[in-house]
């Protein structure tokens, strides 16, 4: 089946069998290697992509299902200002150890920040933790990830008490 979608701002067309998952289309056909293969059953979040700006796991999406959608991976965010600030805070806070979960973690955090800034609502610490509950980090960097996200939010929306 022919499927058209936007990948990081570029229009792509692929011809796939209906049983092909988006994770495989991205990694094996389109060479997008930031999207990691993890549990392949929606538990770990390593294969997270943004579908129309919202995080989704690409292991439980058939490629045919994303026809007409906008798919974003970290490759598409290199020149995005907010994404740049987020990456900087991740590195300043050492919110990375082995790095396997990092691209997905960044995407979820980026989508979360975007939403908070659009609504101009300052999320609570619990909201931040809740937002990344679908991104498993076996190195256990969660406190550092939460700190990195918090610091971007503080810069934009004011200090946390």
């Amino acid at each position: 089946m022919r499927v058209n979608f936007t990948l990081n701002g570029n229009r792509v067309e692929v011809d796939v069998e209906p049983n092909e998952i988006l994770l495989d289309t991205l990694r094996l056909r389109l060479g997008v290697k930031s999207v990691k293969r993890g549990c392949e059953r929606g538990e770990c979040g390593a294969c997270t992509v943004l579908v129309n700006g919202k995080p989704a796991v690409s292991c439980l999406l058939l490629t045919v299902q994303v026809d007409g959608s906008e798919i974003t991976t970290v490759e598409g965010l290199y020149s995005d200002h907010l994404f740049g600030e987020l990456v900087e805070e991740f590195s300043k806070n050492f919110a990375v150890q082995c790095g396997y979960c990092t691209p997905a973690m960044l995407l979820t955090a980026y989508a979360f920040l975007n939403e908070a800034l659009r609504k101009l609502l300052k999320p609570s610490k619990e909201d931040i933790v809740k937002a990344i509950e679908g991104n498993l980090c076996r190195c256990g960097t969660y406190p550092r990830v939460v700190r990195a996200i918090t610091e971007v939010l503080e810069r934009k929306l004011g200090k946390y008490g």
Partner: protein
């Protein structure tokens, strides 16, 4: 690659009529909406199908509406849309609380309320609130529409009252004034977790007397259940700790849990008692 999906045909109908026709005409076809349960079941060969009929882009199945006396939720509405809906937070806070406890953000952006109900897992988190609200499920097939009360929808382990070529179209909930509600869920971990036991309670307390109460649970029987006997214990009585204790004991007598990967029958029964106590105390306004 650890999992490989079997070869399948895929259809994305634009209307309900077309979807029903496809389901009727193609042998071994099945509805897909969010796919977060179905694709895992297909990957692990728990479910074998030849064709998928994707109903997620049919406009009639989407959206949350306040119809005045009733709230209408389209079956293909994503879980995250329920959480973000003002109509849901204002009218169905119990449903919102349950949905917030489900999956992860990624999963909630994909999974649908209808999918959670039709998958009919005993642990379905949208079920206890809808059982408690006495929701009605509108289903559509080639004969037309029919309405199934939520309490008659789950007929056995992972089995619903839907006929093979029927589709759950929407969920209707009548508005009602409840003085309190609670959703108390126990999982194996703090977040992104399936329930070991969950208890939903709605209560209408006037001047310290329980005018009406609804108690529903998941993961304690082959299907999500209402605890009717415990409701009878509480209804019409004056709120007290001993009443809550008695009702929670009745709940523990009504459940028929099993041992499985997440817990044991014994523990689930104990927790049904404890969680029912917590949930009742909160909903009746004594905690």
């Amino acid at each position: 690659m650890y999992y490989k999906l079997p070869k399948i045909d895929y259809y994305r109908p634009k209307t309900l009529d077309e979807a029903i026709r496809l389901l009727r005409e193609i042998d071994n076809s099945r509805v897909i909406a969010g796919g977060t349960d179905l694709l895992v079941d297909m990957k692990t060969s728990r479910v074998r199908v030849r064709a998928l009929v994707d109903i997620s882009s049919i406009p009639d199945l989407r959206g949350i509406e306040d119809l005045g006396r009733t709230i209408r939720i389209g079956a293909a509405t994503r879980l995250q849309e329920l959480i973000e809906s003002n109509v849901v937070s204002q009218n169905l806070p119990l449903l919102k609380a349950a949905v917030e406890s489900m999956g992860s953000w990624q999963i909630r952006n994909m999974a649908t309320i209808g999918g959670n109900l039709c998958n009919a897992s005993p642990a379905a988190d949208t079920a206890p609130p809808l059982l408690a609200y006495d929701a009605e499920f509108v289903v559509i097939g080639s004969e037309g529409l029919r309405v199934i009360p939520s309490t008659k929808f789950f007929v056995g382990y992972r089995k619903t009252a839907l006929n093979p070529c029927e589709i759950l179209k929407e969920i209707l909930v009548k508005k009602s004034e409840w003085s309190g509600w609670s959703y108390v869920k126990l999982g194996r971990r703090g977040g992104f977790t399936l329930s070991v036991v969950a208890v939903a309670v709605l209560a209408k307390v006037i001047d310290g007397v329980v005018y009406d109460v609804r108690i529903a649970l998941n993961s304690v029987a082959p299907v999500p259940i209402r605890a009717y006997k415990a409701e009878e214990v509480v209804r019409g009585k004056r709120v007290s700790w001993s009443l809550i204790e008695e009702a929670a004991n009745t709940v523990a007598g009504e459940v028929t849990p099993i041992d499985d990967v997440r817990s044991t029958s014994w523990y689930r029964r104990e927790m049904s008692y404890q969680l029912a106590k917590d949930a009742l105390a909160k909903a009746l306004g004594v905690a």
